[in-house]
């Protein structure tokens, strides 16, 4: 020992002799550092453990307890939809739904697919459909995915017995929408289906949750807030595989939706739909030009006093029940309710009464007449020549009846629907000073043309009321490179044809009905509406009561001169009663006095052979009884020929039902 010390102190170390290993200060430093690191590590672990268990313990304990509590949304039964007399249009039937909780499906893909295939075989639902539904809801794992709505008792028992084989599959009671009157008023009622991810995003704030049923169209959609009720809440304790380990405990009861009572009248609605089909059949069976292609139409019947809609028919139609319960894609395809097949079935989901815009043709002439009298460019009893054609600046405009040649006053011109008479009036509008704007359009706009009627039914077209400004905006160098310089100008022909409701003008049957209601009620523009009231059903000891709902806007005065209106009403009366009236042969013998105007509007349509050509759209709009009108009816038959061929007889059927009186058709029809 001493020797080594000496040698270290006085001699260099002998490289041949291996120095014994010693614990050097250098190593001591490093071990010390490791020890401090270890202490730091344990200090960190202790502090974190303290923070989790002692400082945040209660909060995390709550989280752990909530873990196994699953909230189950108890769907409320949807409110029924009634007609004005309380007749049921839509109600519910109870059903049993099979749902999947995505978070509880097996994590392994192969196991999951096997379970889905098994479920698909059991429920007769395509596995691909379940897979797609699961994929669609993957981002929202805590909302159940509905697999099937109307499961049978046997299927339910099987699933309950083998719950172990189907982790994540649950049985829940549901309500299915039931339509006791089949496709009656389908376009008004609309249909209900599960809320889509897009809707959910916008409606989440209003209390909608995934899996909720929501009205997609029609009243179901527009008054969904009244119909849907308030969902309840139940709780269930589950393990991590989603297997229930307790009974379902109700926490918040569900409140059923309110009943929505419509202004519709089931009897009249039925009559309108039958009348529509009758009108179409009549057109198809007649020899009129192009009528073989009559395949659609609409009938609107409203109360002229307040705009309450009594009937709203559109053809072709569909069965809303196709969307109830399990929706089968093939059934929708066949019914033409998918984008792929809609055209072949002539768009059955389209509500032509408010969402179809057509040139109104001669039914627009009363608008021209009132506007001309208001603007003092036409005296009601001044005589204008009604000829077979009218030439303006070398352009020839034809009358529908080429053989007429007489001078007539305004009521007669309306009754006979003389085109050439109104061409001259239209040209007078063209000649008016430009600084006050287009006057005919100003009046038409005041009568609701070119704007939505405000019907409480959603998807509605505003039609088209052409003006010089509209021409300038629509036909620009970009949109119409060949002819924009000419097309962007408002020409005499535009005013002339607008006077008889042709060329660019488009209106919906509802807009027309609204205008005729204005004529019928003495100058007040009504807002058509379907809602009568909302009623809360008595439930859980709560008595039923009416729920306050927003009343429709009151009729607005249009400040039309009563004299002018009287002239037009006279013309409309003559049209249905004088021998020369365009629908006199149809309404003349009806026990109630009906006034109204036929219309034949040319519209370019491709009937399916790739060659678009002009087809006559058959119109009739009018009201009865003539002296104090209670009902306005507007009928439109697509490609139905002249107004008297199809639309007027169809409208008559509606009046027959409304007044409970039969008519006999007399004489040949001579109408535009």
């Amino acid at each position: 020992m001493g020797k080594r010390v000496l040698s270290r102190r006085f001699l260099p170390p002998d490289p041949r002799v291996e120095e014994p290993y010693r614990f050097t200060p250098k190593l001591a430093l490093r071990v010390g550092l490791l020890g401090m690191l270890a202490l730091a590590v344990f200090a960190a672990l202790f502090l974190r453990l303290w923070s989790l268990q002692v400082l945040n313990g209660q909060q995390l304990l709550r989280a752990a307890q909530n873990n196994q509590r699953r909230d189950i949304r108890v769907q409320a039964p949807r409110g029924p939809i009634l007609d004005q007399n309380g007749q049921v249009l839509v109600t519910n039937v109870p059903g049993t739904a099979v749902q999947i909780w995505i978070s509880d499906l097996p994590k392994r893909r192969s196991v999951r697919l096997r379970e889905i295939r098994k479920l698909a075989r059991l429920l007769h639902v395509p596995a691909a459909q379940i897979g797609a539904a699961v994929r669609k809801h993957r981002t929202d794992p805590l909302t159940p995915v509905k697999v099937k709505d109307g499961a049978t008792q046997a299927q339910v028992f099987y699933l309950k017995e083998r719950a172990e084989d189907f982790p994540g599959v649950q049985i829940a009671p549901t309500y299915l929408r039931f339509y006791p009157r089949k496709e009656l008023a389908a376009h008004v009622l609309g249909y209900v289906s599960e809320i889509s991810p897009g809707q959910l995003k916008t409606l989440h704030d209003q209390g909608y949750r995934g899996g909720d049923a929501i009205g997609q169209t029609g009243i179901e959609s527009y008054y969904d807030k009244y119909l849907r009720g308030t969902a309840g809440l139940s709780q269930l304790r589950v393990d991590s595989l989603g297997r229930p380990i307790s009974l379902v405990l109700p926490k918040v009861p569900a409140h059923p939706g309110n009943a929505v009572r419509l202004t519709l009248d089931v009897k009249l609605q039925k009559a309108a739909e039958e009348a529509l089909r009758y009108g179409i059949d009549r057109a198809r069976n007649s020899a009129c030009y192009g009528c073989w292609n009559a395949n659609g139409g609409a009938i609107v019947a409203i109360d002229p006093h307040d705009g309450a809609v009594r009937a709203l028919a559109s053809f072709p139609t569909y069965r809303p029940s196709l969307f109830s319960g399990r929706v089968r894609q093939r059934a929708l395809d066949v019914a033409g309710l998918t984008p792929r097949t809609a055209e072949a079935a002539n768009f059955p989901a389209l509500d032509r009464a408010i969402d179809g815009a057509y040139p109104p043709g001669s039914t627009f002439k009363p608008v021209t007449a009132i506007a001309a009298m208001q603007e003092h460019i036409l005296q009601p009893y001044e005589s204008l020549a009604c000829t077979g054609s009218y030439t303006n600046n070398g352009q020839v405009f034809k009358n529908w009846d080429p053989f007429v040649n007489e001078a007539m006053t305004l009521p007669t011109a309306l009754a006979k629907s003389c085109d050439t008479y109104f061409y001259q009036v239209g040209y007078r509008f063209y000649g008016m000073p430009f600084d006050r704007g287009p006057r005919l359009q100003a009046w038409a706009s005041r009568f609701g043309f070119g704007q939505k009627t405000g019907l409480d039914l959603g998807s509605e077209q505003s039609g088209l009321l052409p003006t010089p400004d509209w021409r300038k905006k629509t036909y620009t160098k970009k949109t119409d490179p060949g002819h924009w310089e000419i097309d962007s100008l408002w020409k005499p022909g535009d005013s002339i044809q607008l006077a008889i409701g042709q060329k660019d003008l488009l209106a919906t049957p509802m807009q027309m009905a609204r205008f005729y209601a204005m004529v019928a009620n003495g100058g007040k523009l009504v807002t058509p509406h379907l809602l009568q009231d909302v009623e809360q059903p008595s439930s859980n000891g709560r008595p039923g009561r009416a729920v306050p709902s927003t009343p429709p806007p009151a009729p607005e005065p249009t400040n039309v001169d009563a004299q002018a209106l009287a002239v037009v009403r006279d013309g409309l009366y003559q049209a249905t009663h004088r021998s020369f009236g365009t629908s006199a042969s149809i309404f003349g013998s009806f026990p109630m006095s009906i006034s109204g105007k036929t219309g034949t509007a040319e519209k370019s349509i491709d009937p399916g052979d790739g060659i678009p050509r002009l087809f006559n759209q058959s119109w009739w709009c009018g009201y009865g009884p003539s002296d104090s009108p209670d009902l306005v009816v507007c009928a439109l038959i697509e490609n139905g020929g002249h107004g008297g061929d199809a639309a007027a007889p169809a409208a008559l059927k509606v009046f027959e039902s409304f007044f409970g009186k039969q008519a006999t058709l007399t004489g040949p029809i001579h109408s535009d």
């Binding site: 290993y21 614990f23 250098k26 190593l27 001591a28 490093r30 071990v31 490791l34 020890g35 690191l37 270890a38 590590v41 344990f42 960190a44 672990l45 202790f46 974190r48 453990l49 303290w50 989790l52 268990q53 002692v54 945040n56 313990g57 209660q58 909060q59 995390l60 304990l61 989280a63 752990a64 307890q65 873990n67 196994q68 978070s103 794992p141 393990d239 991590s240 595989l241 380990i245």
Partner: protein
């Protein structure tokens, strides 16, 4: 003859007496505090497992418990054998050990995958996980190499060769893929270099290199479209930094784990009320997340006891580094203890959301034969070093 016989008999008796004295001295020279604390951790862990897996296998409450007890028994036998082996054997045979380690890990890659990765060798009665044993063997091999070069530590080539050698098993383990074990291997490499006395400059360069690599692998290369890690690996590594991003997916485990730990509060919820564990909300609660289950069932007190026992084990381990008789023993002790510390921190830290999620079992507690046996062997080697340490009376 007789004389001779007598003297022979005496010699034999002397030899017997000497042997008895030697055995007694050998036993006396064991680090009883280390042995005792390890025994306490193992026993405490077994008790914890009994509670944690009580509801796991329907109809057989002791399923995991008996298994774990058998592993412990095998491990104890291995520990005794390891104590008897002089570490000098490992030092001289480090090339063999290195080859065997790499070979064992490599053949795993040739077998079929189990649960998506190739970590196990199925021996029929036992699933053998070479990467667990590799942690011990790897340290022995690198320590052997460094002890050989103990006079040339300042040469950068020594450090680089060590890293080169180490990269073979690390890479093989990474391929399995067993990212957690690969990390443990890396920690062990650092520890052996550190304890062997590698210059600070080398260590600093190494640290800088690791940091650059982490940035490259986690940030730059994936952005450039060259992902090294599988996506789930990357998410696990980084998700603990922002735990609320995706509670349904990557961070589900960590959320449930924290809920379980917190729900334990001071005294624990007991075996039957620990719903996070019994209702299986906490996945892998008998292996990777065993600490969370322990904390849920036994509370802050129960979890603290385990932490303190670990601290005791680590302290005794580090003490062995200071008394080792030669550089090899010191380096081995340092590598083993640091690997142990690293595993404890990463595993427990993971369950509490302060370390990335990696599949590292909790030493001496997680159910699993390979891990338990390998860790007991490591303790055996530490004891063996202690027995033959400097300043021990012979």
């Amino acid at each position: 003859m007789v004389d001779h016989y007598v003297s022979n008999a005496r010699a034999a008796a002397r030899a017997r007496r000497r042997e008895a004295v030697e055995v007694a001295s050998f036993v006396r020279r064991l680090d009883w505090l280390l042995l005792g604390s390890v025994a306490a951790v193992v026993g405490y862990g077994l008790w914890a497992i009994a509670g944690i897996t009580h509801h796991d296998v329907a109809g057989d409450q002791g399923y995991y418990l008996t298994r774990q007890a058998v592993y412990i028994f095998i491990g104890v036998v291995c520990l005794v054998l390891a104590v008897l082996v002089d570490p000098e054997l490992y030092r001289t045979r480090w090339r063999w050990i290195f080859g065997a380690t790499s070979f064992l890990i490599a053949i795993v890659l040739l077998t079929g995958p189990i649960r998506g990765s190739k970590r196990w060798l199925d021996l029929g009665f036992f699933r053998f996980q070479p990467s667990e044993f590799g942690k011990v063997l790897f340290v022995l091999a690198l320590a052997g190499f460094l002890a050989e070069r103990s006079r040339r530590l300042h040469d950068i080539r020594t450090t680089l060769t060590t890293l080169g050698l180490a990269s073979v098993p690390v890479f093989l383990v990474f391929l399995q893929p067993d990212f957690g074990s690969a990390l443990v291997y890396c920690a062990a490499v650092f520890a052996v270099l550190f304890v062997a006395g590698t210059p600070w400059t080398h260590i600093a360069a190494l640290a800088a290199g690791v940091a650059a690599l982490a940035v490259l692998v986690l940030g730059v290369l994936p952005a450039a479209g060259l992902p090294i890690l599988k996506q789930y690996q990357q998410q696990r590594l980084t998700s603990f930094l922002n735990p609320d991003q995706d509670p349904g997916g990557t961070t589900y485990n960590i959320t449930q784990s924290k809920n379980a730990i917190g729900a334990g509060e001071l005294r624990g919820r007991g075996v039957d009320n620990a719903t996070q564990t019994t209702l299986n909300f906490l996945p892998e609660h008998h292996t990777d997340f065993v600490f969370a289950s322990l904390a849920e069932e036994r509370g802050f007190f129960g979890a603290s006891i385990l932490l303190m026992l670990y601290l005791l084990v680590v302290w005794r381990g580090l003490r062995i580094v200071t008394i080792a008789r030669d550089p090899f023993s010191a380096i081995v002790a340092g590598g083993l203890v640091f690997a142990l510390l690293f595993q404890i921190f990463v595993n427990i830290g993971m369950t509490m959301g302060i370390a990335p999620i990696t599949g590292i079992p909790l030493p001496f507690v997680s159910v699993g034969g390979s891990s338990m046996i390998a860790n007991l062997i490591a303790v055996g080697i530490l004891l063996s070093i202690h027995v033959r340490a400097r300043g021990q009376r012979r």
